[in-house]
Symmetry: C2
Subunit: 208 residues, 2 copies
């Protein structure tokens, strides 16, 4: 559909909006016309927030999480436990773990998982920098917190091999029945793992 725009400014905005994931040209036009119907200040605030974010947000030189400074607030915090590093796939996963409020260590953002199908090998990920970080000494435990998928497990194993000779404890997230899920609808592999790794019942209310 080749739209007839009476404004080159509108056309440019529609073109840029349609580059967003899941936004086609029709949706982009709908968004642009919505922005035009709003107050000028609202539309300007949106545009400026995007520019400021893209210009201002960098990546932490230690954990590769997004940051506005050379080192992110987590890595430079004096209250976080620097001996534990949780290896996650993405910036979003850091937010998700932070939301649990159950973790006080640091992170290491890989930027993805090994996936030959998508052409992603270990070199495209922040694995070498993780090894360097462990070699530097302070890290006592590396928690592998990648997705429980084939690619995640492959990446876990690759990292395990890379860190193998270093004096560091390597753990992974517990596999088990999701809280709120019915046994009937839990797959057999998960159930098997949850049996093997069963925990003391008393611990489940003591740890709250």
């Amino acid at each position: 559909m080749n739209q007839e725009f009476s404004s080159i400014l509108l056309e440019t905005a529609v073109t840029e909006l349609s580059r967003l994931p899941g936004v086609g040209r029709k949706t982009a036009l709908r968004l642009a016309l919505h922005i035009l119907r709003q107050d000028e200040s609202t539309g300007v605030a949106l545009g400026e927030a995007i520019v400021n974010m893209r210009r201002g947000v960098k990546y932490c030189s230690v954990c590769h999480n997004i940051s506005e400074t050379e080192m992110c607030p987590l890595c430079s915090s004096s209250t976080r436990d620097k001996s534990t590093v949780c290896v996650v796939e993405s910036v979003k996963d850091v937010m998700i773990f932070e939301n649990t409020r159950q973790y006080n260590g640091l992170y290491h953002v890989l930027g993805g998982v090994i996936s030959p199908m998508d052409g992603i090998g270990p070199d495209q990920l922040q694995i070498a920098s993780l090894v360097d970080r462990v070699k530097a000494g302070d890290v006592e435990e590396v928690i592998l917190a990648l997705s429980a998928t084939m690619e995640g497990e492959t990446t876990n194993f690759y990292i395990y091999r890379q860190l193998g000779t270093l004096p560091v404890k390597i753990t992974q997230l517990a596999r088990g029945v999701s809280v709120g899920n019915e046994i009937e609808y839990t797959d057999e592999i998960t159930l098997g793992r949850s049996l093997i790794n069963r925990t003391l019942f008393a611990d489940s209310f003591n740890s709250r």
Copy 2:
């Protein structure tokens, strides 16, 4: 969900993006992280396009279509037929009619249709300015091109009454079977109208 953002710039962008229609906080975060993964120039271009559009786009003083100048390119064009005015609901409808390449007159954008349910009365629409435009003299035909809904028909009738005493021809879009549609799935009212308003078969290929 109260996300833990490690960057105030990211948080601001997510907040602004989540004001868009159909964009929740989760989608806004997905969009923001996508923008961060792209080249800096791509993200900045998006933000600046939105700011420039919102600041630069005004409404035509004659037809109320969007315009970058006091009078839009259509109204100020010397090749358009100024004696015909097509009354449409929105800026988007102007684009849709322009895309048909079947119309060479001018437009009048109402900004909606009369809808008591949504609290939209004639005063919130550009109906008075349409009447003024017709009173000014040059207009010979007003084409009512609103949606074939209850609200559209009500608005058509209201405009018809307002223009009633003025020396102007008032027409409306033909109602009939949609091109490509099967008779079996066309509703009875439309079929009835398409019988009453049947046209000469020869005209259907002569007019192409």
